[in-house]
Amino acid sequence: MALPLPPGLTPSEVGFLCEMELVTVIPRQRLEGLELLGGPTQSLNPPFPAPLPLWLALLLKRQKRANISPPPWLSVEGLSSILDFETDNRTAEVFSPAPSLPRPTGFGLPHDEYLSQDSLEFSPPFLADSSTTRSQPNALPYHWLELGHLLLTHASDDFDDPDTVRRLLRDLREVRMSKLRKGFRVLDAGAGVKMNGVGGMEIAEVRGFVGGVVDGLRKINRSREESRKDREAEERENGLGGSSYQDDEDDMQL
Protein backbone atom coordinates (compact mmCIF):
# COMPACT_ATOMS: atom_id res chain seq x y z
CA MET A 1 0.00 0.00 0.00
CA ALA A 2 1.29 3.43 -0.79
CA LEU A 3 -0.06 4.88 2.45
CA PRO A 4 -1.81 2.41 4.73
CA LEU A 5 -3.36 5.00 7.06
CA PRO A 6 -7.13 5.62 7.16
CA PRO A 7 -8.38 9.02 5.97
CA GLY A 8 -7.54 11.77 8.40
CA LEU A 9 -4.44 13.36 9.86
CA THR A 10 -2.53 11.44 12.51
CA PRO A 11 -1.54 13.30 15.70
CA SER A 12 2.07 13.54 14.54
CA GLU A 13 0.92 15.14 11.29
CA VAL A 14 -1.17 17.62 13.28
CA GLY A 15 1.99 18.39 15.23
CA PHE A 16 3.84 18.86 11.93
CA LEU A 17 1.17 21.33 10.83
CA CYS A 18 1.43 23.15 14.14
CA GLU A 19 5.13 23.70 13.58
CA MET A 20 4.26 26.01 10.70
CA GLU A 21 2.65 28.51 13.07
CA LEU A 22 4.49 31.75 13.64
CA VAL A 23 5.81 32.55 17.12
CA THR A 24 7.66 35.57 18.45
CA VAL A 25 11.35 34.97 18.95
CA ILE A 26 13.86 37.12 20.82
CA PRO A 27 17.19 36.42 19.14
CA ARG A 28 20.51 36.33 20.90
CA GLN A 29 22.63 36.31 17.75
CA ARG A 30 22.47 38.06 14.44
CA LEU A 31 21.15 36.11 11.51
CA GLU A 32 20.32 37.40 8.08
CA GLY A 33 16.91 36.96 6.52
CA LEU A 34 16.57 33.63 4.72
CA GLU A 35 14.67 32.67 1.57
CA LEU A 36 12.79 29.62 2.73
CA LEU A 37 10.36 27.54 0.67
CA GLY A 38 7.56 28.88 2.86
CA GLY A 39 8.41 32.50 2.19
CA PRO A 40 11.22 34.78 3.31
CA THR A 41 11.96 35.24 7.01
CA GLN A 42 12.88 38.44 8.74
CA SER A 43 16.50 39.10 9.61
CA LEU A 44 17.31 38.65 13.29
CA ASN A 45 18.87 41.61 15.10
CA PRO A 46 19.11 41.21 18.85
CA PRO A 47 17.41 42.39 20.98
CA PHE A 48 14.44 43.07 18.67
CA PRO A 49 11.80 40.32 18.58
CA ALA A 50 10.85 38.80 15.24
CA PRO A 51 8.20 36.32 14.11
CA LEU A 52 9.49 32.97 12.91
CA PRO A 53 7.89 29.60 12.16
CA LEU A 54 7.83 27.35 15.18
CA TRP A 55 10.17 24.70 13.74
CA LEU A 56 12.82 27.34 13.10
CA ALA A 57 12.29 28.85 16.54
CA LEU A 58 12.74 25.45 18.19
CA LEU A 59 15.89 24.80 16.15
CA LEU A 60 17.40 28.09 17.25
CA LYS A 61 16.32 27.54 20.84
CA ARG A 62 17.95 24.13 20.89
CA GLN A 63 21.22 25.74 19.81
CA LYS A 64 20.74 28.49 22.40
CA ARG A 65 20.68 31.21 19.77
CA ALA A 66 17.25 32.60 20.63
CA ASN A 67 14.49 32.71 23.21
CA ILE A 68 10.83 32.13 22.46
CA SER A 69 8.34 34.46 24.13
CA PRO A 70 5.12 32.58 24.92
CA PRO A 71 1.92 33.97 23.42
CA PRO A 72 -0.47 35.80 25.78
CA TRP A 73 -3.05 33.02 25.84
CA LEU A 74 -0.42 30.54 27.04
CA SER A 75 0.00 32.21 30.41
CA VAL A 76 -1.44 31.59 33.85
CA GLU A 77 -3.96 34.44 33.53
CA GLY A 78 -5.00 33.57 29.99
CA LEU A 79 -5.47 29.87 30.65
CA SER A 80 -7.23 30.47 33.96
CA SER A 81 -9.81 32.73 32.35
CA ILE A 82 -10.41 30.23 29.55
CA LEU A 83 -10.70 27.41 32.07
CA ASP A 84 -13.25 29.42 34.06
CA PHE A 85 -15.27 29.89 30.90
CA GLU A 86 -15.15 26.18 30.10
CA THR A 87 -16.08 24.95 33.55
CA ASP A 88 -18.94 27.41 33.92
CA ASN A 89 -22.21 25.50 34.06
CA ARG A 90 -23.86 27.71 31.52
CA THR A 91 -21.39 26.80 28.78
CA ALA A 92 -21.58 23.06 29.21
CA GLU A 93 -22.55 22.58 25.59
CA VAL A 94 -20.00 24.74 23.82
CA PHE A 95 -16.24 25.05 23.72
CA SER A 96 -14.46 28.29 24.40
CA PRO A 97 -14.45 30.20 21.14
CA ALA A 98 -11.48 30.18 18.82
CA PRO A 99 -9.88 33.54 18.07
CA SER A 100 -12.13 35.59 15.79
CA LEU A 101 -11.24 34.98 12.16
CA PRO A 102 -10.45 38.04 10.05
CA ARG A 103 -12.98 39.05 7.44
CA PRO A 104 -12.90 36.71 4.45
CA THR A 105 -11.26 38.11 1.35
CA GLY A 106 -14.28 36.99 -0.66
CA PHE A 107 -12.42 36.71 -3.91
CA GLY A 108 -13.60 33.21 -4.75
CA LEU A 109 -15.74 32.92 -7.86
CA PRO A 110 -17.77 29.91 -8.96
CA HIS A 111 -15.65 29.18 -11.99
CA ASP A 112 -12.35 29.14 -10.10
CA GLU A 113 -10.25 26.05 -10.33
CA TYR A 114 -9.59 23.92 -7.32
CA LEU A 115 -6.80 25.56 -5.31
CA SER A 116 -6.30 28.60 -7.48
CA GLN A 117 -4.11 31.32 -6.02
CA ASP A 118 -6.71 34.03 -6.12
CA SER A 119 -9.37 32.45 -3.99
CA LEU A 120 -7.37 31.30 -0.99
CA GLU A 121 -8.81 32.08 2.43
CA PHE A 122 -6.34 32.01 5.29
CA SER A 123 -6.80 29.37 7.95
CA PRO A 124 -4.71 27.82 10.71
CA PRO A 125 -1.76 27.34 10.85
CA PHE A 126 -1.43 30.42 8.68
CA LEU A 127 -3.70 32.86 10.49
CA ALA A 128 -1.74 35.97 11.23
CA ASP A 129 -0.83 36.44 14.88
CA SER A 130 -2.44 33.35 16.32
CA SER A 131 0.56 32.55 18.52
CA THR A 132 2.78 35.59 18.39
CA THR A 133 2.78 38.14 21.18
CA ARG A 134 -0.04 39.95 19.43
CA SER A 135 -2.53 37.10 19.68
CA GLN A 136 -5.81 37.27 21.54
CA PRO A 137 -5.30 36.39 25.20
CA ASN A 138 -8.72 34.93 25.88
CA ALA A 139 -9.19 32.50 23.01
CA LEU A 140 -7.57 29.17 22.29
CA PRO A 141 -6.17 28.96 18.77
CA TYR A 142 -6.62 25.84 16.72
CA HIS A 143 -3.27 24.24 17.60
CA TRP A 144 -3.27 25.19 21.27
CA LEU A 145 -2.52 21.77 22.70
CA GLU A 146 0.44 20.96 20.44
CA LEU A 147 1.85 24.45 20.72
CA GLY A 148 1.62 24.46 24.49
CA HIS A 149 3.18 21.04 24.71
CA LEU A 150 6.09 21.88 22.40
CA LEU A 151 6.85 25.18 24.08
CA LEU A 152 6.72 23.67 27.55
CA THR A 153 8.98 20.81 26.52
CA HIS A 154 11.64 22.78 24.70
CA ALA A 155 11.39 26.31 26.07
CA SER A 156 10.18 25.92 29.65
CA ASP A 157 12.72 28.44 30.90
CA ASP A 158 10.98 31.16 28.91
CA PHE A 159 7.84 30.80 31.02
CA ASP A 160 7.29 32.54 34.34
CA ASP A 161 5.58 29.54 35.91
CA PRO A 162 5.81 26.44 33.73
CA ASP A 163 4.35 24.03 36.29
CA THR A 164 1.14 26.01 36.73
CA VAL A 165 0.83 26.38 32.99
CA ARG A 166 1.28 22.64 32.59
CA ARG A 167 -1.38 21.93 35.18
CA LEU A 168 -3.81 24.39 33.59
CA LEU A 169 -3.24 22.89 30.15
CA ARG A 170 -3.97 19.44 31.48
CA ASP A 171 -7.16 20.59 33.19
CA LEU A 172 -8.30 22.38 30.06
CA ARG A 173 -7.69 19.29 27.99
CA GLU A 174 -9.73 17.13 30.36
CA VAL A 175 -12.67 19.53 30.43
CA ARG A 176 -12.81 19.85 26.65
CA MET A 177 -12.47 16.11 26.04
CA SER A 178 -15.35 15.43 28.43
CA LYS A 179 -17.49 17.96 26.51
CA LEU A 180 -16.59 16.25 23.25
CA ARG A 181 -17.57 12.91 24.67
CA LYS A 182 -20.90 14.29 25.80
CA GLY A 183 -21.46 15.44 22.24
CA PHE A 184 -21.19 11.88 20.96
CA ARG A 185 -24.73 11.28 22.07
CA VAL A 186 -26.12 13.42 19.25
CA LEU A 187 -24.11 11.70 16.56
CA ASP A 188 -26.38 10.76 13.72
CA ALA A 189 -25.80 8.90 10.48
CA GLY A 190 -27.14 11.67 8.30
CA ALA A 191 -27.00 15.21 9.57
CA GLY A 192 -24.08 17.19 10.81
CA VAL A 193 -22.83 17.85 14.29
CA LYS A 194 -21.51 21.27 15.22
CA MET A 195 -18.20 21.55 17.08
CA ASN A 196 -17.09 25.18 16.96
CA GLY A 197 -13.89 26.06 18.74
CA VAL A 198 -12.48 22.54 18.85
CA GLY A 199 -8.70 22.09 18.54
CA GLY A 200 -6.63 20.18 16.03
CA MET A 201 -5.30 17.53 18.36
CA GLU A 202 -8.74 16.97 19.83
CA ILE A 203 -10.15 16.30 16.38
CA ALA A 204 -7.32 13.85 15.70
CA GLU A 205 -8.08 12.03 18.93
CA VAL A 206 -11.79 11.52 18.33
CA ARG A 207 -11.76 11.23 14.55
CA GLY A 208 -11.34 7.47 14.54
CA PHE A 209 -14.11 6.93 17.04
CA VAL A 210 -16.54 9.38 15.47
CA GLY A 211 -15.91 7.98 12.01
CA GLY A 212 -16.52 4.47 13.25
CA VAL A 213 -19.76 5.46 14.98
CA VAL A 214 -21.11 7.26 11.92
CA ASP A 215 -20.21 4.32 9.69
CA GLY A 216 -21.85 1.89 12.07
CA LEU A 217 -25.00 3.99 12.25
CA ARG A 218 -24.99 4.20 8.49
CA LYS A 219 -24.86 0.42 8.18
CA ILE A 220 -27.72 0.01 10.60
CA ASN A 221 -29.82 2.61 8.86
CA ARG A 222 -28.95 1.54 5.35
CA SER A 223 -32.03 -0.61 4.81
CA ARG A 224 -34.24 2.21 6.07
CA GLU A 225 -32.53 4.73 3.80
CA GLU A 226 -32.76 2.55 0.74
CA SER A 227 -36.48 2.00 1.14
CA ARG A 228 -36.91 5.75 1.58
CA LYS A 229 -34.91 6.42 -1.60
CA ASP A 230 -36.97 3.90 -3.54
CA ARG A 231 -40.14 5.51 -2.33
CA GLU A 232 -38.89 8.96 -3.36
CA ALA A 233 -37.82 7.71 -6.79
CA GLU A 234 -41.22 6.11 -7.30
CA GLU A 235 -43.03 9.29 -6.35
CA ARG A 236 -40.94 11.30 -8.77
CA GLU A 237 -41.49 8.91 -11.67
CA ASN A 238 -45.22 8.67 -11.22
CA GLY A 239 -45.76 12.39 -10.95
CA LEU A 240 -48.96 13.25 -9.12
CA GLY A 241 -49.07 10.34 -6.74
CA GLY A 242 -50.28 7.73 -9.24
CA SER A 243 -49.45 4.15 -8.53
CA SER A 244 -47.09 2.11 -10.63
CA TYR A 245 -49.61 -0.61 -11.19
CA GLN A 246 -49.85 -1.32 -14.87
CA ASP A 247 -52.96 -2.93 -16.19
CA ASP A 248 -51.95 -5.49 -18.83
CA GLU A 249 -55.33 -5.45 -20.37
CA ASP A 250 -54.75 -1.89 -21.52
CA ASP A 251 -52.13 -2.98 -24.05
CA MET A 252 -53.94 -3.27 -27.35
CA GLN A 253 -52.22 -5.62 -29.73
CA LEU A 254 -53.47 -4.63 -33.16
Partner: protein, 289 residues
Protein backbone atom coordinates in the same frame (compact mmCIF):
# COMPACT_ATOMS: atom_id res chain seq x y z
CA UNK B 1 -29.15 40.17 -10.47
CA UNK B 2 -27.44 40.91 -7.15
CA UNK B 3 -25.37 37.80 -7.48
CA UNK B 4 -24.15 38.79 -10.92
CA UNK B 5 -23.20 42.30 -9.85
CA UNK B 6 -21.22 41.10 -6.85
CA UNK B 7 -19.53 38.50 -9.01
CA UNK B 8 -18.57 41.14 -11.55
CA UNK B 9 -17.30 43.45 -8.81
CA UNK B 10 -15.23 40.69 -7.28
CA UNK B 11 -13.80 39.84 -10.69
CA UNK B 12 -12.83 43.46 -11.35
CA UNK B 13 -11.22 43.97 -7.95
CA UNK B 14 -9.36 40.71 -8.36
CA UNK B 15 -7.99 41.87 -11.72
CA UNK B 16 -6.81 45.09 -10.08
CA UNK B 17 -5.15 43.04 -7.38
CA UNK B 18 -3.39 40.74 -9.80
CA UNK B 19 -2.40 43.65 -12.01
CA UNK B 20 -0.74 45.45 -9.13
CA UNK B 21 1.08 42.32 -8.04
CA UNK B 22 2.04 41.74 -11.67
CA UNK B 23 3.54 45.25 -11.77
CA UNK B 24 5.34 44.55 -8.50
CA UNK B 25 6.81 41.30 -9.71
CA UNK B 26 8.00 42.98 -12.88
CA UNK B 27 9.92 45.56 -10.90
CA UNK B 28 12.01 42.72 -9.40
CA UNK B 29 14.01 40.43 -11.63
CA UNK B 30 12.07 37.98 -13.73
CA UNK B 31 13.36 34.94 -11.91
CA UNK B 32 12.03 35.77 -8.42
CA UNK B 33 8.34 35.44 -7.53
CA UNK B 34 6.82 38.09 -5.29
CA UNK B 35 6.78 37.28 -1.58
CA UNK B 36 3.02 36.87 -1.38
CA UNK B 37 3.06 34.27 -4.13
CA UNK B 38 5.52 32.01 -2.28
CA UNK B 39 3.54 32.38 0.91
CA UNK B 40 0.24 31.69 -0.86
CA UNK B 41 1.64 28.67 -2.64
CA UNK B 42 2.96 27.30 0.64
CA UNK B 43 -0.49 27.63 2.17
CA UNK B 44 -2.14 26.09 -0.88
CA UNK B 45 0.23 23.14 -0.75
CA UNK B 46 -0.51 22.63 2.94
CA UNK B 47 -4.23 22.90 2.30
CA UNK B 48 -3.99 20.42 -0.59
CA UNK B 49 -2.08 17.97 1.58
CA UNK B 50 -4.51 18.24 4.50
CA UNK B 51 -7.55 17.89 2.24
CA UNK B 52 -6.12 14.90 0.39
CA UNK B 53 -5.24 13.19 3.69
CA UNK B 54 -8.70 13.74 5.13
CA UNK B 55 -10.97 13.14 2.14
CA UNK B 56 -12.05 9.58 1.33
CA UNK B 57 -12.24 10.46 -2.37
CA UNK B 58 -9.67 11.66 -4.91
CA UNK B 59 -9.64 15.46 -5.21
CA UNK B 60 -8.68 17.31 -8.41
CA UNK B 61 -4.96 17.42 -9.08
CA UNK B 62 -3.57 20.97 -8.69
CA UNK B 63 -1.29 20.86 -11.72
CA UNK B 64 -0.01 24.45 -11.81
CA UNK B 65 0.51 24.56 -8.07
CA UNK B 66 2.58 21.37 -8.13
CA UNK B 67 4.62 22.65 -11.08
CA UNK B 68 5.42 25.90 -9.27
CA UNK B 69 6.27 24.11 -6.04
CA UNK B 70 8.52 21.54 -7.74
CA UNK B 71 10.40 24.23 -9.66
CA UNK B 72 10.98 26.12 -6.41
CA UNK B 73 12.17 22.96 -4.71
CA UNK B 74 14.66 22.35 -7.52
CA UNK B 75 15.92 25.92 -7.23
CA UNK B 76 16.32 25.51 -3.48
CA UNK B 77 18.23 22.24 -3.92
CA UNK B 78 20.60 23.98 -6.34
CA UNK B 79 21.06 26.85 -3.87
CA UNK B 80 21.84 24.47 -1.02
CA UNK B 81 24.40 22.61 -3.12
CA UNK B 82 26.06 25.90 -4.05
CA UNK B 83 26.19 26.94 -0.44
CA UNK B 84 27.61 23.61 0.67
CA UNK B 85 30.30 23.55 -2.01
CA UNK B 86 31.06 27.25 -1.46
CA UNK B 87 31.61 26.59 2.23
CA UNK B 88 33.93 23.70 1.46
CA UNK B 89 36.09 25.92 -0.78
CA UNK B 90 36.06 28.77 1.73
CA UNK B 91 37.49 26.58 4.46
CA UNK B 92 40.39 25.47 2.31
CA UNK B 93 41.40 29.08 1.58
CA UNK B 94 43.19 30.98 4.33
CA UNK B 95 40.91 33.08 6.56
CA UNK B 96 42.39 36.37 7.86
CA UNK B 97 40.63 36.78 11.26
CA UNK B 98 40.40 33.48 13.13
CA UNK B 99 37.44 34.31 15.40
CA UNK B 100 35.54 36.15 12.68
CA UNK B 101 36.14 33.28 10.29
CA UNK B 102 34.90 30.78 12.88
CA UNK B 103 31.68 32.67 13.52
CA UNK B 104 31.23 33.09 9.78
CA UNK B 105 31.44 29.37 9.06
CA UNK B 106 29.27 28.64 12.08
CA UNK B 107 26.62 30.94 10.74
CA UNK B 108 27.00 29.42 7.31
CA UNK B 109 26.56 25.97 8.85
CA UNK B 110 23.44 27.17 10.62
CA UNK B 111 22.00 28.67 7.45
CA UNK B 112 22.73 25.45 5.60
CA UNK B 113 21.03 23.31 8.23
CA UNK B 114 18.01 25.64 8.29
CA UNK B 115 17.64 25.47 4.53
CA UNK B 116 18.00 21.70 4.57
CA UNK B 117 15.38 21.33 7.31
CA UNK B 118 12.97 23.53 5.38
CA UNK B 119 13.58 21.58 2.21
CA UNK B 120 12.98 18.24 3.89
CA UNK B 121 9.75 19.55 5.44
CA UNK B 122 8.43 20.59 2.04
CA UNK B 123 9.55 17.32 0.49
CA UNK B 124 7.70 15.43 3.22
CA UNK B 125 4.49 17.29 2.45
CA UNK B 126 4.79 16.69 -1.30
CA UNK B 127 5.71 13.04 -0.86
CA UNK B 128 2.89 12.38 1.57
CA UNK B 129 0.44 14.15 -0.77
CA UNK B 130 1.47 12.01 -3.73
CA UNK B 131 1.50 8.80 -1.72
CA UNK B 132 -1.99 9.48 -0.41
CA UNK B 133 -3.22 10.00 -3.98
CA UNK B 134 -1.52 6.80 -5.11
CA UNK B 135 -3.09 4.84 -2.26
CA UNK B 136 -6.56 6.14 -3.13
CA UNK B 137 -6.05 5.43 -6.83
CA UNK B 138 -4.86 1.87 -6.36
CA UNK B 139 -7.64 1.15 -3.90
CA UNK B 140 -10.34 2.01 -6.44
CA UNK B 141 -8.36 1.54 -9.66
CA UNK B 142 -11.14 0.24 -11.92
CA UNK B 143 -13.47 3.04 -10.78
CA UNK B 144 -11.05 5.82 -11.68
CA UNK B 145 -10.05 4.18 -14.95
CA UNK B 146 -13.72 4.01 -15.82
CA UNK B 147 -14.09 7.74 -15.03
CA UNK B 148 -11.17 8.61 -17.28
CA UNK B 149 -12.37 6.51 -20.18
CA UNK B 150 -15.85 8.06 -19.97
CA UNK B 151 -14.46 11.36 -21.31
CA UNK B 152 -15.16 10.92 -25.06
CA UNK B 153 -12.19 12.67 -26.66
CA UNK B 154 -8.98 12.24 -24.71
CA UNK B 155 -8.15 15.92 -24.72
CA UNK B 156 -5.28 16.31 -22.29
CA UNK B 157 -6.22 19.81 -21.16
CA UNK B 158 -9.92 19.05 -20.93
CA UNK B 159 -10.90 20.33 -17.53
CA UNK B 160 -13.63 18.21 -16.07
CA UNK B 161 -12.46 14.66 -15.46
CA UNK B 162 -8.87 14.39 -16.65
CA UNK B 163 -8.16 17.23 -14.23
CA UNK B 164 -8.63 14.81 -11.39
CA UNK B 165 -5.47 12.89 -12.23
CA UNK B 166 -2.21 14.13 -13.67
CA UNK B 167 -0.90 12.51 -16.84
CA UNK B 168 1.75 10.62 -14.88
CA UNK B 169 -0.91 9.28 -12.55
CA UNK B 170 -3.08 8.12 -15.46
CA UNK B 171 -0.11 6.27 -16.91
CA UNK B 172 0.71 4.74 -13.55
CA UNK B 173 -2.88 3.60 -13.05
CA UNK B 174 -3.11 1.99 -16.47
CA UNK B 175 0.19 0.14 -15.99
CA UNK B 176 -0.73 -0.91 -12.49
CA UNK B 177 -4.09 -2.26 -13.55
CA UNK B 178 -2.58 -4.07 -16.55
CA UNK B 179 0.05 -5.75 -14.39
CA UNK B 180 -2.51 -6.67 -11.74
CA UNK B 181 -5.01 -8.17 -14.18
CA UNK B 182 -2.23 -10.13 -15.88
CA UNK B 183 -1.19 -11.49 -12.50
CA UNK B 184 -4.77 -12.42 -11.64
CA UNK B 185 -5.16 -14.13 -15.02
CA UNK B 186 -2.08 -16.21 -14.50
CA UNK B 187 -2.88 -17.16 -10.91
CA UNK B 188 -6.56 -17.95 -10.85
CA UNK B 189 -8.78 -16.13 -13.35
CA UNK B 190 -8.01 -18.57 -16.16
CA UNK B 191 -9.63 -21.27 -14.05
CA UNK B 192 -12.91 -19.30 -13.84
CA UNK B 193 -15.74 -19.90 -16.31
CA UNK B 194 -15.48 -17.62 -19.35
CA UNK B 195 -18.41 -15.37 -18.46
CA UNK B 196 -17.14 -14.54 -14.96
CA UNK B 197 -13.64 -13.35 -15.79
CA UNK B 198 -14.21 -9.62 -16.16
CA UNK B 199 -12.78 -7.39 -13.42
CA UNK B 200 -15.11 -4.50 -14.26
CA UNK B 201 -18.29 -6.51 -14.33
CA UNK B 202 -21.37 -4.40 -13.62
CA UNK B 203 -24.10 -6.89 -14.42
CA UNK B 204 -25.62 -8.98 -11.70
CA UNK B 205 -26.66 -7.81 -8.26
CA UNK B 206 -23.38 -6.44 -6.94
CA UNK B 207 -21.01 -4.47 -9.13
CA UNK B 208 -17.34 -5.47 -9.26
CA UNK B 209 -16.37 -1.82 -9.54
CA UNK B 210 -16.32 -0.26 -6.10
CA UNK B 211 -16.31 3.48 -5.93
CA UNK B 212 -14.83 5.27 -2.95
CA UNK B 213 -17.03 5.57 0.12
CA UNK B 214 -18.73 8.94 -0.23
CA UNK B 215 -20.70 8.67 2.98
CA UNK B 216 -17.61 8.73 5.18
CA UNK B 217 -17.66 11.23 8.06
CA UNK B 218 -15.36 14.23 7.66
CA UNK B 219 -14.72 17.34 9.73
CA UNK B 220 -14.97 20.64 7.89
CA UNK B 221 -14.59 24.27 8.81
CA UNK B 222 -16.51 26.93 6.93
CA UNK B 223 -14.32 29.64 5.46
CA UNK B 224 -16.74 31.61 3.30
CA UNK B 225 -19.09 34.11 4.87
CA UNK B 226 -22.07 31.80 4.51
CA UNK B 227 -22.38 28.46 2.78
CA UNK B 228 -25.27 26.24 1.82
CA UNK B 229 -25.38 23.20 -0.41
CA UNK B 230 -28.90 23.52 -1.78
CA UNK B 231 -27.74 23.43 -5.42
CA UNK B 232 -25.50 20.45 -4.72
CA UNK B 233 -28.50 18.60 -3.33
CA UNK B 234 -30.48 19.37 -6.46
CA UNK B 235 -27.62 18.23 -8.66
CA UNK B 236 -27.34 15.10 -6.54
CA UNK B 237 -31.03 14.37 -7.06
CA UNK B 238 -30.63 14.80 -10.83
CA UNK B 239 -27.61 12.52 -10.87
CA UNK B 240 -29.47 9.90 -8.96
CA UNK B 241 -32.33 9.99 -11.42
CA UNK B 242 -29.97 9.76 -14.36
CA UNK B 243 -28.12 6.93 -12.69
CA UNK B 244 -31.27 4.91 -12.09
CA UNK B 245 -32.61 5.37 -15.59
CA UNK B 246 -29.26 5.25 -17.33
CA UNK B 247 -26.73 2.46 -17.13
CA UNK B 248 -27.99 1.15 -13.82
CA UNK B 249 -24.63 1.86 -12.18
CA UNK B 250 -26.20 2.57 -8.81
CA UNK B 251 -23.18 2.18 -6.60
CA UNK B 252 -21.09 4.91 -8.21
CA UNK B 253 -23.83 7.36 -9.15
CA UNK B 254 -26.33 7.09 -6.33
CA UNK B 255 -23.88 7.73 -3.56
CA UNK B 256 -22.12 10.67 -5.12
CA UNK B 257 -24.56 13.55 -4.92
CA UNK B 258 -25.29 15.53 -1.78
CA UNK B 259 -28.32 14.30 0.07
CA UNK B 260 -28.67 16.44 3.19
CA UNK B 261 -29.10 20.19 3.09
CA UNK B 262 -26.65 22.09 5.24
CA UNK B 263 -25.92 25.71 5.97
CA UNK B 264 -22.84 27.03 7.72
CA UNK B 265 -21.48 30.34 8.81
CA UNK B 266 -17.86 31.45 8.84
CA UNK B 267 -15.75 29.74 11.47
CA UNK B 268 -18.11 26.88 12.24
CA UNK B 269 -16.74 23.34 12.51
CA UNK B 270 -19.01 20.47 11.56
CA UNK B 271 -18.87 16.68 11.30
CA UNK B 272 -20.72 15.78 8.13
CA UNK B 273 -20.76 13.21 5.39
CA UNK B 274 -18.25 13.66 2.61
CA UNK B 275 -20.77 13.71 -0.22
CA UNK B 276 -22.68 16.60 1.33
CA UNK B 277 -19.67 18.92 1.46
CA UNK B 278 -17.70 17.76 -1.54
CA UNK B 279 -18.75 20.66 -3.77
CA UNK B 280 -17.89 23.18 -1.07
CA UNK B 281 -14.42 21.76 -0.53
CA UNK B 282 -13.61 21.72 -4.24
CA UNK B 283 -14.66 25.35 -4.56
CA UNK B 284 -12.64 26.41 -1.54
CA UNK B 285 -15.54 27.57 0.65
CA UNK B 286 -14.92 24.81 3.16
CA UNK B 287 -11.76 23.39 4.60
CA UNK B 288 -11.18 19.79 5.66
CA UNK B 289 -9.68 19.33 9.12
Amino acid sequence: MDLDISDILADVSRHNHSQSSYANSHSHSHATDSDTDIFTDHQLLTRAWTSERCAPDLLPYPTELMDRVMSRVQAQIARIEDLASGMGDGQLASVPGGAGGGAGTQNANLVLSILQTDLSRTQFVVRSFLRQRLAKMTKHATFYLGLISKVPNQNQDHKSLSGHLSTAEVQFLRNHQALLSEFYDVSFLSAFPAGLRRLDDTSGGVSMVEGPDSGHAVVVRCLGEMWANAEDVERGVEERERGVQGDGDREGGAGAGASVELRMRRGEVWVVRWRDVRGGVERGDLELL
